[in-house]
Symmetry: C2
DNA sequence: CCCGTTAGGATACGAATGTATCCATATGGG
DNA sequence: CCCATATGGATACATTCGTATCCTAACGGG
């Protein structure tokens, strides 16, 4: 066989170029030719490694989910050793855009979210992440409640759903520049204080 | 002068057609010809009443803001007679998509929000509504606090910002079908209960 | 050495887009 | 009555898009 090339690596480069465009100029600015230019290759190469634009778009969404997953796992790696509040703070801080890279990812995520609202094909790739997060945190909070770390009059599932929706809404306001990351983080802390009692270190 | 036609009425019809497309098929599906077809007129008519596609898009955003405003004013018309909690419940319920029409408007709103993130021209039309809402509610809550209707350890501005972000995040989850309107409303009520004390009628 | 296969360059095609132009028509004020 | 003008129909144009096709080059196994 002739010239062998690492297909996965090529595809990854193209997907990253796609996300770079989507996060800075929006999904509507994503075209085969733009991706080729951004990745520094010819149009043919993009066609060669992705049969469809659809396939390309789906790969972008998949990669985005993987990135979130990676960041989450990284932050909650030693979750067993963290206080319940520590777990919540870590997870919610991952959702919120902090540095430039996570801001870009949040932009792309938002673009995909909006596109999926009117594009069944994208919706099908299905972002199970929100539900996964909600379940994970609900288990944690229920455990914490049984351990007496939060008052019994709280409903864990409702609290968790609320906190995640709060983080999402705050993300929107950060992206649109209505608020900075610090202001958003402060609001989350405020709510964690009310849930878990006054702050830690 | 020959045949006179109500330009405002024509423009309104076209803007409504635009929003109908944007809310069901997304902003990327909005084209001059599609609007013409949706409104049952020729392409030329769309061109005649809007010089640009840009002007058309801006008119859609303006109309959307006006609708929100109208709905808000309607709900808070007798706000002076409402309990503070009643005001909050009314406002937050307006933000949340309830019936089909407000769901469609929320879809369009979200589409515009996402587009504005990468389109300076749209961002310039500027949605001052969030800030207006936040200020309005903050004043209300501060007053309620001074009247002793909520405990002094609450920070009105933070509470309001949190509630609005919560409503936004819940709206997202409702649009994506992760949750129904009732579930979202219940979560908001839950938080209002915690803020104002146990529920009213 | 050499040839079959993989990797990509070059180009084309039809559809859809925003915008511009040319022209018809009808109507209300003189 | 009649014509200047407001309204809009028909059509064209250059771009851009996704996709398809044709062909070349390189390279590793025989």
């Amino acid at each position: 066989m002739p010239r062998k090339v690492d297909h996965d690596e090529r595809r990854r480069r193209l997907t990253e170029a796609l996300l770079r465009i989507a996060s800075t100029r929006g999904l509507q600015a994503v075209s085969m030719r733009e991706i080729a230019a951004e990745a520094g290759v010819s149009l043919r190469v993009v066609q060669y490694y992705f049969t469809n634009k659809q396939a390309l778009l789906e790969s972008g969404l998949t990669e985005l989910g993987a990135r979130m997953d990676r960041r989450l796992k990284q932050r909650t790696a030693g979750a067993g050793e963290l206080t319940p509040r520590g777990v919540f703070a870590a997870v919610l801080d991952v959702v919120l855009p902090s540095d430039e890279q996570s801001r870009l990812d949040s932009m792309a995520w938002n673009a995909y979210y909006t596109a999926a609202l009117t594009d069944p094909a994208l919706a099908a790739v299905g972002v199970t992440l929100p539900d996964t997060l909600e379940n994970f945190l609900t288990v944690r909070l229920t455990t914490a409640q049984q351990a007496g770390e939060i008052t019994p009059d709280r409903d864990p599932r409702t609290e968790v759903a609320g906190l995640l929706a709060l983080a999402n809404g705050l993300t929107s306001s950060v992206l649109s520049g209505q608020r900075g990351h610090e202001a958003a983080a402060k609001i989350i802390d405020y709510h964690l204080d009310r849930l878990f009692g006054p702050a830690p270190a």
